[in-house]
Symmetry: D2
Subunit: 342 residues, 4 copies
C-alpha cells in the first residue's frame, strides 16, 4: 500500500469537526446560510479578522469561490491580472473566462506578483480596444508553496488602491501560509490588506467549504443573489457553519496548519541534508524537491505524489504535500526510503 | 419552540449516512470523483436504473445540477421549455439565463407539462429570429407536489424524440415521487424515459449531493470538464460517494421517502377529514391545504411553513413539507392544533 | 411584381443620405467613432435632446443596440422587465439571455407597460432565490404600433426612479412614434423621461445605424469598452456619423417619419371606411387590419405583408408597414384592390 | 494637413462599390441576408473558393466575425490557441473570453503559428482541470504583416485534422496576403486548408463587411441563429451583398489589394535603400521600419502612423499601413521627407 503525499484533501475531515456534525445533526435549522452555526461562525471570523463589518459567505470549494467572487465584482470588459502559475489560469478549466473575463498573465517570480509586474500589464492596456485590468488575483500560499509577507502584501494593496484595482487573495492554503516559519502576518493583518479573500477549509481539515470575506464596502451588494445564481448557496448550509465554527472557535484551524507545516519541514530538512535541491524554497506544506528520475521511480512504488517539472533529462522536481492528517511515521518512512534509494 | 414544516432540508443527514462517513473518514482516497466510494455508488446506481452505460456524476445541490446539466447540452441559441412554476424559472435566480439560455414558459396544468403544451411553444418558434427550443425540463415530483405517471412520461419522451428535443428530469424530490401512492413507475422505468435526470439526495436524507445521470450517449462528452469549469467537481468527492452508496445499497433512499410520504398522507387525510380543501391534490411530501387566514396565524405560532398563495381575502393555501426526519408526534400535534383552531 | 409592405427596411437609404456619403467618401477620417461626422452628429443630437452631457454612441442595428446597452448596465443577477410582445423577448433569438440576464415578462396592454404591470413583477421578486428586476424595457412605437404619450412616459420614469429601476426605451421606430397624430412628446421631452434610449436610423431612412443615448451619469462608464467587446465599434464609423448628421441637421428624420405615418394613415382610414376592424388602433407606421382569409389570399398576390394573428377560422389580422420610401401610388392601388376583393 | 498611414480604413469605400450602392438603392429587397445581392455574392464567392457547398454569411466587422464564428463552434470548456500577437488576444477587448472561452497563447515567430507551437499547448492540457484546446486561430496576413505560404497552411491544416482541432483563419487582410510577392496560395487553395475563415472587406475597399465562409460541414448548423443572437444579422443586408458582389465579380478585390501592396513595397524598398531596418520583413500592406526617435518626431508632423515598439532608447519601430486608397504622391512625399529628415 502506498502512502499518499499527492495533496491535502486525501482524508476526510478532522475528528473534532466530525464530532461537531454528529452533535448538531438532529437539530432543525434554517437553510441557505441562515442557520445558527453559520451566524456564529461569521461572528467569530469577524472577530478574528478584526472587522465586524466584513461580509462573510461560505462556498463549497475553491474554484467556485474564485469564480463567484471574481464575476461578482467585474464589469463585462474588466479583466483579472494573475501570475501565469495561478490556479485560476491553469487548473480551473477556464472558469474565469467562462464568466466572461480575460486573465492578463503578468510576469512573476516564484508564483508571486509584485507591483512592478502589475504595472507592466497596466502599461499595455491603454484604451477600449483592450480589456481594462481591474482585479489582481494572488494566492497565499502560492501554487509554488511560497508566501507573501507583510511588506509584500501591504505594498501590493497600496499599489492597487492607487490604481483603482481590487486586490483579491485566494486562501485555499492560507492556514499553511500564516503558519509558515517565514510568515510575519496574522489573519487580521492579512485581511486589512486585501479587498476580499477566502479562507480555505477543504485543504485544512474541513470536508468542504471556503469562507469568502468581503472587506470592501463597494463590493458587497448582491453577493447572495450572485451565489444563488451560480449554484453556490447550499440548502443545508449548517454544514459549513458547524465546520468553520469548530475550526475557529479555539484555534483548531491554525493547529492543523502547523502540523502540516511541521511535517513538510521535517521532510524538507531531511531531504536537504541528504543533499538534494528544491525547485522553490520550502516554506509551507507544499515542497518541490529535485531528484534523479530513478529515485523518483523507486519512491513512487511506495508513495503517491505528482512529478511537477522535468529539470533535465535525468532529474525532475516532484511535489510533496502534507496536511493536518499526515502521519509522522509516513514522513519518517519517506526519509528512510529516500536515503536508501539514493 | 415551533416545529418546522417549511422544507425537507431542515435536519442534517440520516444517521446511517453519518455512520458511513464516520467509518470511512480516516481513509486516504483520491479526489474529484475518483475515490472508491463514488465508483461503488455509480456501480449500484447503474444497476438500479438498469443501464450499465449511464454516465453518473455527483453535484452538490439542485441549482448547480440543473445549471451544469442544461448548459452542457445546449448551443448558445438553444432554449429550454419549462412550466411557469418550474424551479429553474422562479427560484434559481436566473441561473439558466446566466449560462446564456432562454427559458420558454409553456402553459401547464398543476405544474406538469404535456406534449400539447410543448407543441404550442414549438409552433411559435419558426426561424432564426427566435431561439430554438431544444431541452424540455420537467420535475418529478413537481413544485406543486404532483407527479408524472408512466403514461405521462413515456408520451413526453416519445414526443421529444420525434421532435429532436432532449428530455431532462429534475429529481430533487424523485424519492417522494416514486413512493407516492399514485405512482406506477420504478426508478429504472423512469430512467428509460428521459435523456438525463438527477436523483436528489439533499431533500431525502443526504447532507448534500445530487446524482446526475446521463443516459443519452450524445450528451456525455466533456461533462467533467464542464463540471470543473462551473466549480462543481468537489475535491473530497468521497462525501458524495459514501452518501449515495449508503442511500442505495439496501434501499434506504426509498425507505426515507416512504416515511416522508406517510407523514404527508397522515396530515392530508386528517386535514381533509376536518373539512379543508387543497390547492393541488396531495400525493407526495408537499401538500397545499387551504385555511382561513385566522387559522393560519394561529398555526404559525407553533409551526413553521410558507404561505403559498392567497386564495381570496379570507383564505390562503399554505405549504407543508414532510421529510425522512419528520416526527409523527409533530404531525399528530399539528392535526390536534388544527382541530382546536378551527 | 408585388409591392412590399412587409417592413420599413426594404429599400436602401434616403437619397440625401446617399449624397452625403458620396460627398464625404474620399476624405481621410479617423475610425472607431472618432471621425469628424460622428462628432458633429453627436453635437446636433445633444442639442435636439437638450442634453449637452448625454453620451451618444452609434451601433449598427437594433438587436445589437439592445443587447449592448442592457448588458452594460446590469449585474449578473439583475433582470429586465418587458412586455411579452417586446422585441427582445420574441424576436432577438434570446440575445438578452445570451448576455446572462433573465427577462421577466410583465402583463401589458397593447404592447405597453404601466406602473402597475411593473409593480406586479416587483411584488413577486422578494429575495435572492429570484432575480432582481433592474431595468424596464419599453419600445416607442411598440411592436403593436401603439405609442406612449407624455403622461404615460413621465409616470413610468418617476415610478422607475422611486424603485431604483433603470428605464430604457427602444426607439427603432421612434420617428414614427413622435410623428404620430396621437403623440404629445417631442424628442427632448422623451429623452428627459428615460435613463437611456436609442434613436433608430435603420427603419427611418438610414442604411444602418442606431444612436444610443445615455442620459443617466451612473450608466456611462466604460460603454466604449463594452461596445468593442461586443463587436459594435465599427472601423469606418464615419458611415454612422454622416447618416445621422444628414438625418438631424435639418429635420430630415422627422420628414421621413411623417411620410411613413401619412401613408399608414391613408391606408388605415380607407380600410376603416371599407368597413374593416383593426387588431390595434392604427396610429403609427405599422397597422394591423383584420380581413377575411380569402381577401388576404387575394391581396397577397400583389402585396407583400405578414399575417400577424389568426382571429378566428375565417379572419386574420395582417401587418402592413409603411416607410419613408412607400409610394403613394402603391397605397392607392392597395386600397383599390382591397375594395375590389371584398 | 497630415497624410494618414495609420490604417487601411481611413477612407470611405471604393468608387465602384459606391456606384453599385447608388444603382441598387431604390429597389425593394428582402432583409436579413435574403436579398438578391447577398445571394449573388454568395454564388460568386463559392465559385472563387471552388466550394459550392460552403456556407457564406456577411458580418459587419472583424471583431464581430471572430467572436460569432468562434463562439458558434466551441463547447463551453473548449479553448482557442493563438499567437500572443493575435488580434483576438490583444485588440478585441476580451471579446472571445466574453463568450466564455479561454485563449491559450502559443509561442510564435513573427506572428505565425507552427505545428510545434500548437503541440506544445496541447501537451500542457491533459485533463478536465484544464480547458480543452479545440480551435486554432491564425491570421493571414498576420498582425505583423507576415504571411502563411501553401506549405505552412497545409501543414497546419493536416496537423489540426490529426488532432481533432478546428483551423480558423482571420482574413481581415487576406487580400494583401494573397497579393504579396511572397505568396504562393490562391483563394481556393487557402480555403481548402481551413475549416472556416473570413474574407475582409472593411480593410480592402468596402465600407463595412466581412464574408464568413464555413467549409466544414459539421460546423454549419444554426449559424444564422447564432448571428442573430449576437446582433450580427443586418436588416438591410443588401449592403453587404452589393459590396461583395462588386468586389468579386471582376476581381476588383485583388486589384485593390495589389495597389495597397505596391504602395507598401515602394515605401519599404526606399526605406531600405535609405539604410533602415525593419522589425518584420515587409511583404504585405503593413510595414514596420525602425527609425531614430528624432526622425519619427519629424515625420509625425506630416504623416499619421503608430509607434509600434521601442527598440532601444533612441530608436523605435513605427507601423505604416497602405490601402487601396493610398495615393502614390503621398508615398513619394514620405520617402522624400524621410531622406530629408535623416
Amino acid at each position: 500500500m502506498t502512502y499518499n503525499f499527492k495533496n491535502d484533501y486525501t482524508e476526510g475531515m478532522h475528528p473534532s469537526i466530525l464530532d461537531a456534525l454528529i452533535k448538531t445533526n438532529a437539530e432543525q435549522q434554517e437553510g441557505y446560510g441562515h442557520d445558527l452555526y453559520c451566524c456564529k461562525a461569521i461572528d467569530i471570523l469577524q472577530q478574528k479578522i478584526r472587522n465586524p463589518r466584513a461580509d462573510i459567505h461560505f462556498i463549497s470549494g475553491g474554484t467556485q469561490a474564485n469564480t463567484v467572487v471574481i464575476a461578482s465584482v467585474l464589469k463585462p470588459y474588466e479583466s483579472v491580472i494573475s501570475a501565469g502559475t495561478a490556479h485560476i489560469n491553469t487548473h480551473e478549466t477556464g472558469a474565469i473566462e467562462n464568466t466572461g473575463h480575460k486573465i492578463n498573465v503578468a510576469q512573476s517570480l516564484n508564483g508571486k506578483l509584485s507591483c512592478k509586474d502589475i504595472q507592466a500589464v497596466l502599461d499595455l492596456h491603454t484604451d477600449e480596444h483592450m480589456v481594462k485590468p481591474r482585479l489582481v488575483f494572488i494566492s497565499n500560499a502560492t501554487e509554488t508553496g511560497t508566501i507573501y509577507n507583510k511588506q509584500d502584501l501591504k505594498a501590493l494593496f497600496l499599489f492597487c488602491k492607487s490604481k483603482g484595482l481590487i486586490l483579491y487573495l485566494d486562501g485555499a492554503r492560507i492556514g499553511s501560509a500564516l503558519c509558515s516559519y517565514e510568515n510575519d502576518l496574522n489573519l487580521a493583518e492579512l485581511s486589512e490588506f486585501v479587498d476580499l479573500f477566502y479562507i480555505g477549509g477543504t485543504k485544512n481539515g474541513a470536508m468542504a467549504g471556503e469562507a469568502v470575506i468581503i472587506n470592501n464596502e463597494t463590493l458587497k451588494a448582491g453577493f447572495r443573489f450572485h451565489m444563488k445564481q451560480n449554484g453556490a448557496l447550499l440548502a443545508k448550509s449548517r454544514i459549513f457553519g458547524v465546520q468553520f465554527l469548530e475550526l475557529f472557535k479555539d484555534g483548531l484551524f491554525f493547529k492543523l496548519a502547523e502540523h502540516a507545516n511541521e511535517m513538510a519541514l521535517k521532510l524538507s530538512r531531511n531531504i536537504a541534508q541528504a543533499g538534494f535541491q528544491f525547485l522553490y524554497k520550502p516554506v509551507t506544506n507544499q515542497i518541490f524537491p529535485i531528484f534523479e528520475n530513478k529515485i523518483i521511480e523507486n519512491l513512487n512504488k511506495k508513495y503517491g505524489f505528482y512529478v511537477w517539472e522535468n529539470i533535465d533529462k535525468k532529474t525532475s522536481a516532484i511535489r510533496l504535500v502534507t496536511s493536518w492528517a499526515t502521519k509522522e511515521e509516513a514522513v519518517d518512512n519517506f526519509i528512510k526510503d529516500l536515503k536508501y534509494c539514493s
